[in-house]
């Protein structure tokens, strides 16, 4: 019952979501192999080889895979699919992009964003923005699965899997990369940060997000936002935490000026500790917060910054 995990990486580094997906894959079927498709992706492949529970790492190093576009990824994964009973990828924008293509070509439904593996063919997944959890049984010849990485723990990097180079598959020649605008940040990534501080409509402007930046720098946190703040143009789209944005589950989530719409809660309610700072006492965010502070954020956040400084952060 072999499983193939399609790695999430940026050629140089392997994303944490890959390790977590390996954990899920090991519960579906072993041995677990990892496919690293990229360009000059040796460092990512080496990192994958160190993941506990990985038997083999397949590396497809070709210009075709530099940006992991859906069409070439589909043909590459299909060329390997015969050897596996399950194919898994993290439910990142990459995994969500190419995995359904693979499923359709294999004529099987995809099981999206699993939260738990109850048995090798029974999975739990969120529906209705996480307001209901569905348990599904997949009696299928092949299982194509995307994994909500925050629901699984990463194993220790104690492995030493073999790395095998594989040839590129045919180029479908339908699509090409034409540029990107990536948010530059020295801070940790939203989905793997231990602390996340997010701002909502209450921030009133993009400039005011620097208030959160200061706290983030002190706590080593990533900065996120609600959909309202992104729609208002305060911050770029990749800041968005919520059902249709990023799902995070840090040790500490600080929601500042966020009312707590269902769609936002779906993206952060699995955080270990939630702090809400909002001047509206009735805001729904307080119903999920472990610690709530009813206060004007423009007063409370600078105070928090001072207090942290005082405490040596």
């Amino acid at each position: 019952m072999a499983s193939l995990v399609v790695a999430e990486h940026d050629n140089k580094t392997l994303k944490d979501a890959t390790a977590k997906t390996v954990t899920a894959a090991a519960q579906v079927g072993t041995p677990v192999h990892v496919l690293v498709a990229g360009r000059d992706c040796g460092p990512a492949a080496e990192a994958a080889a160190k993941l506990a529970g990985v038997e083999k790492v397949l590396v497809a190093d070709d210009a075709l895979y530099e940006r992991m576009l859906a069409e070439p990824m589909e043909s590459l994964i299909l060329s390997l699919a015969g050897n596996y009973d399950a194919i898994l990828a993290p439910a990142t924008t990459n995994g969500k992009n190419f995995m359904p293509r693979v499923a359709a070509k294999l004529d099987v439904p995809q099981i999206s964003e699993i939260l738990a593996v109850e048995a090798p063919d029974i999975f739990r997944r969120p529906i209705y923005a996480g307001n209901a959890i569905q348990a599904v049984k997949a009696e299928l010849a092949k299982k194509v699965i995307t994994v909500r990485a925050t629901a699984f723990k990463a194993g220790e990097p104690t492995g030493s899997a073999a790395i095998e180079k594989i040839a590129a598959a045919a180029d479908p020649g339908m699509s090409k990369f034409a540029g990107e605008e990536l948010s530059k940040s020295e801070r940790p990534e939203l989905t793997s940060a231990k602390v996340v501080i997010s701002g909502g409509r209450g921030m009133q402007s993009g400039d005011n997000f620097h208030l959160l930046d200061k706290i983030a720098d002190k706590l080593g946190a990533a900065v996120g936002a609600s959909r309202a703040a992104v729609d208002a143009g305060f911050v770029p789209n990749d800041y968005q935490v919520g059902q249709t944005g990023k799902v995070v589950a840090p040790e500490l989530y600080i929601a500042v000026g966020i009312s707590g719409a269902i769609q936002h809660l779906a993206g952060m309610k699995d955080s270990k500790v939630i702090v809400a700072i909002n001047k509206d006492e009735e805001a729904p965010i307080f119903q999920v917060a472990d610690y709530g502070l009813v206060a004007d954020l423009f007063k409370a956040v600078p105070e928090l910054d001072e207090e942290l400084t005082k405490q040596g952060y």
Binding site: E113, I122, D231, L252, V288
Partner: protein
């Protein structure tokens, strides 16, 4: 160029869903239903393409119960030209939907299919990509901006790290993200006009597609509830709790 826009009838996004006590699903009885919000964005984008002279005809398709005809009417009132209703009761999985849409694409020969990136009921995020694969077409998913070039589309996509632009050959599939556009409201005259626009009625059998679910839903439950915690009075108290009680900073 003809544009095909599939639209799904789902629980209105403002409705708080309730899980049925017998754990068979969520309660859909007497609940307000609407067009999937991402599909509204897809319809709007198609209409804008028509207004720019890029699209000649917009065909709205829905697969679902008879009432999905109302969802098509909404698309027609916004500005789509005609509809195709494929009547199917019960849950139709994305793969079956994609197979039906493939057959419709073969009959209608659209140059572009615009779909919502995901439906807010099953949250699958699959149909557009599956349709693209079945047709052997390229895709521009999670679109933030769509521009036409010579025989191709430039699609700016919302990705985890920011934005990515891809060039894809036509015919192609586009799936919409939130910030592609802001859908219009249908005006009363347009709602009246939409009543006269034609809707073709079909069945999955007409397209030779079996819509029986392949995944078996064992149960649907409520997620674990989070208990509301305590209110702190001052920032100093908050920092103290985070440090000494929760131990997270």
């Amino acid at each position: 160029m003809k544009v095909l826009v599939p639209v799904k009838r789902v629980i209105d996004y403002n409705v708080k869903v309730r899980v049925k006590s017998d754990q068979t699903g969520v309660d859909l009885a007497n609940v307000k239903m609407s067009m999937n919000p991402f599909d509204e964005i897809a319809v709007e984008e198609a209409i804008r393409l028509k207004e720019q002279g890029k699209a000649t005809e917009i065909v709205a398709v829905s697969i679902g119960p008879a009432q999905a005809g109302e969802t098509i009417r909404t698309a027609l009132a916004m500005g789509a030209d005609r509809g195709i209703l494929v009547k199917a009761e019960g849950e139709v999985e994305p793969l079956a939907v994609a197979k039906i849409l493939k057959a419709i694409c073969e009959a209608e020969q659209p140059g572009l299919v615009i779909l919502g990136k995901q439906a807010i009921d099953d949250d699958c995020n699959q149909t557009g990509q599956m349709l693209a694969a079945l047709l052997g077409w390229p895709q521009g998913t999670f679109a933030n901006k769509v521009e036409f070039g010579e025989g191709m589309l430039k699609v700016k996509r919302e990705i985890d790290g920011g934005l990515q632009t891809v060039e894809i050959k036509l015919p192609a599939i586009v799936t919409t993200d939130l910030r592609l556009n802001e859908p219009r409201y249908a005006s009363l005259p347009n709602i009246m006009k939409a009543k006269k626009k034609p809707i073709d009625e079909k069945t999955p059998g007409d397209y030779g597609v079996d819509v029986a679910p392949r995944l078996k839903v064992l149960k649907v439950t409520e997620p674990a509830k989070r208990q509301a915690g305590v209110k702190v009075k001052t920032v100093a108290e908050l920092v103290d709790k985070l440090k000494n009680e929760a131990g997270v900073i």
